[in-house]
């Protein structure tokens, strides 16, 4: 179904959208009349938070959205929502992304959105989705065009948020290590993914099956050495 909405400048939250149907759409329109209304409401929900001049939901809008949903804006579920939307730019949601994220759960009201967040947690936890979400989380934090790495401080927060609930001990120790080491000032995607593999494969806290002669990122070799020194 194609639709084009025209926003008249100077008017707030234009609810008049012109809808154009193609032939095939008309055929389905009977059953989809309900869903087209839904799409409209989903869009309207978007516009109620969007910035008028940019046509996107910006950080301020997200904060409002979060308070409406009674969720803290640093909550991991917002990151999950962004993942569901495949949002490209941190702190912003476009209409397309909004629709993508909210269409299948059909969240057209704030209350339904709240439910979406609950379901999202379960969805992300599924092994097939988690790696994707974990990878997405890193990429989402690359805000500059050619940026490939994230600073230690932010990585620590991100790890805690995204991986903490699953591997609490590993994350806590690794974060502690990251803060005291001085070899690396930033973490790249390879190291990020390496740590995930590490948590999944390596026996903790004994590291009995860890072999630094294998292709583990060097930062993990150093981490294991540091941990071993701590326990002796």
């Amino acid at each position: 179904m194609r639709r084009s909405s025209s926003k008249k400048t100077g008017q707030s939250n234009s609810t008049s959208a012109s809808i154009t149907f193609s032939a095939t759409d008309l055929f389905r329109s009977a059953s989809s009349k309900a869903s087209s209304k839904e799409m409209e409401r989903i869009d309207n929900l978007f516009y109620s938070y969007a910035n008028r001049s940019s046509g996107m939901i910006d950080p301020e809008g997200i904060e409002t959205l979060c308070s409406d949903m009674e969720v803290d804006h640093t909550d991991v579920r917002i990151l999950m929502l962004a993942w569901k939307m495949r949002a490209e730019k941190q702190g912003y949601f476009t209409l397309e992304e909004w629709r993508r994220g909210l269409k299948s759960p059909r969240a057209d009201t704030v209350n339904k959105l709240k439910k979406v967040l609950l379901d999202l947690e379960k969805e992300v936890k599924r092994p097939s989705n988690f790696v994707d979400f974990y990878t997405y989380a890193f990429r989402y934090c690359l805000t500059e065009e050619k940026q490939k790495s994230i600073d230690i401080e932010s990585i620590c927060q991100l790890l805690d948020l995204v991986l903490g609930p699953h591997f609490r001990a590993q994350v806590d120790y690794f974060v502690e290590y990251l803060k005291i080491q001085s070899d690396y000032k930033v973490i790249n995607m390879d190291q990020w993914m390496g740590f995930y593999r590490f948590c999944n494969q390596i026996s903790f806290p004994d590291f009995s099956n860890y072999d630094p002669e294998l292709a583990w990122p060097l930062i993990l070799d150093n981490f294991v050495e540091w941990m071993r020194a701590k326990t002796t």
Binding site: E60, N188, G194, E213, A215
Partner: protein, 392 residues
């Protein structure tokens, strides 16, 4: 490595984090502080090959060189040795401090037999430059530029060095007195008229002069470095100068200037006097021409500081070698991966140890591999993280 910071302005509150974007990869210096044997052996050779040390017969010197070669075979980091040897050889050649050119050449040919010509190519190039410079200086003396523009009584000789052969000398600022600038320009005009299209860069830190000085107790000739010359010439126009005055007039970098002034006012030969007296040069010090200077010899050497090495020099020589090793490792990894296309980590490490001629730790190899992954020369295989794929 470049870093750029983005400050978020207070109006936008990001929902998640405010990362400072860093660009670039982590570069580590492969520093093996225990590998001083190469440096020490090079220093030993320098002492033996330098003029003015224990008088040894040609036979004795040859014998010593042979013994050193035996030790040389055990040196793991031969590139470190080469860097130090080259640096010391350069000083000997430029300051005319070689005990015997034959002995120098004998050492080079021993190294060549031992390590191949690639090792000694640059060293041999240095000798060529010295010999060529002699010819150039002869032509210069006969040239119209020298005969018409150079004041009589001024003897100017220039060593022209080919950049690739000689050690890299950090550019050292100095404001030369007008006359010296003129002499440099006269030579430059002559040289470029013979060899057009070349770029000449004056290495003022290596220059040295013989100054005629009139002391009340007798005329003297002082063999000094160019920097010492610049300082001394200031006293042609002033009786007393403060440290700051000298610094402003000469433009010489602080540490270097202090060293220079120390050599003129605080050592055995004091052509200047420091007020107040003392070993070190402090910010508030002043200097005066030493009226009371006396010495038994007519010609006096005060340029010893150029032959001495500073701690910084030695550190930077070693660092440069290690930096160079980094490039070699990178090149080897890319070369191997380009051929094999797909290779496991352990096999890559094995091949690298076979190819690289200097000692290196597996951790350092990992660092370079990761740097290359970051720069997208290779990637970790998606299905097996123990395997690397070459990225064309």
């Amino acid at each position: 490595m470049g870093c750029s910071f983005v400050l978020c302005d207070d109006h936008c509150s990001f929902p998640f984090f405010i990362p400072f974007p860093f660009l670039g990869s982590i570069s580590g210096i492969l520093l093996d502080v225990h590998n001083r044997s190469a440096e020490l052996i090079a220093k030993f050779l320098d002492e033996k090959l330098r003029a003015g040390n224990k008088v040894t017969s040609e036979e004795e010197l040859e014998g010593t060189l042979e013994k050193v070669l035996v030790l040389f075979r055990f040196i793991q980091g031969k590139d470190v040795f080469e860097a130090f040897y080259k640096k010391d050889l350069a000083k000997r050649l430029l300051l005319g401090k070689s005990a015997s050119i034959d002995a120098e050449k004998s050492m080079i040919s021993k190294l060549k037999t031992e390590c191949g010509s690639q090792f000694t190519n640059k060293l041999e190039g240095m000798f060529k430059d010295i010999e060529l410079s002699k010819e150039i200086n002869e032509s210069f003396k006969q040239s119209s530029q020298a005969r018409t523009k150079l004041p009589s009584g001024i003897e100017l000789s220039v060593h022209v060095l080919t950049t690739g052969y000689w050690p890299t000398y950090p550019p050292m600022d100095v404001r030369l007195p007008h006359e010296l600038n003129v002499y440099q320009d006269i030579f430059k005009e002559f040289y470029l008229s013979k060899y057009s299209g070349r770029r000449l860069m004056w290495q003022n830190s290596l220059g040295h002069c013989v100054l005629k000085a009139e002391f009340p107790k007798g005329k003297k000739e002082l063999a000094v470095s160019l920097f010492q010359t610049v300082v001394l010439m200031l006293f042609n126009d002033a009786q007393k100068l403060s440290f700051q005055d000298i610094k402003d007039s000469t433009g010489i970098e602080d540490k270097e200037l202090r060293r220079t002034l120390q050599s003129l006012a605080c050592g055995k030969v004091r052509v200047l006097q420091k007020l107040p007296k003392g070993r070190d040069v402090d910010d508030d010090d002043s200097f005066v021409f030493n009226e009371g200077f006396a010495a038994p010899l007519y010609r006096i050497k005060v340029n010893a500081i150029q032959m001495k090495e500073t701690v910084e020099e030695n550190t930077s020589t070693t660092e440069r070698v290690f930096q160079d090793r980094q490039y070699q490792v990178d090149a080897a990894i890319v070369r191997i991966m380009k051929t094999r296309k797909v290779l496991s980590h352990t096999l890559l490490i094995t091949e690298l140890f076979q190819q690289l001629k200097f000692p290196i730790k597996p951790a350092d190899l990992k660092k370079r591999i990761e740097s290359l992954i970051d720069r997208e020369y290779l990637e970790r295989d998606k299905n097996n993280p123990q395997i690397y794929n070459y990225l064309a």
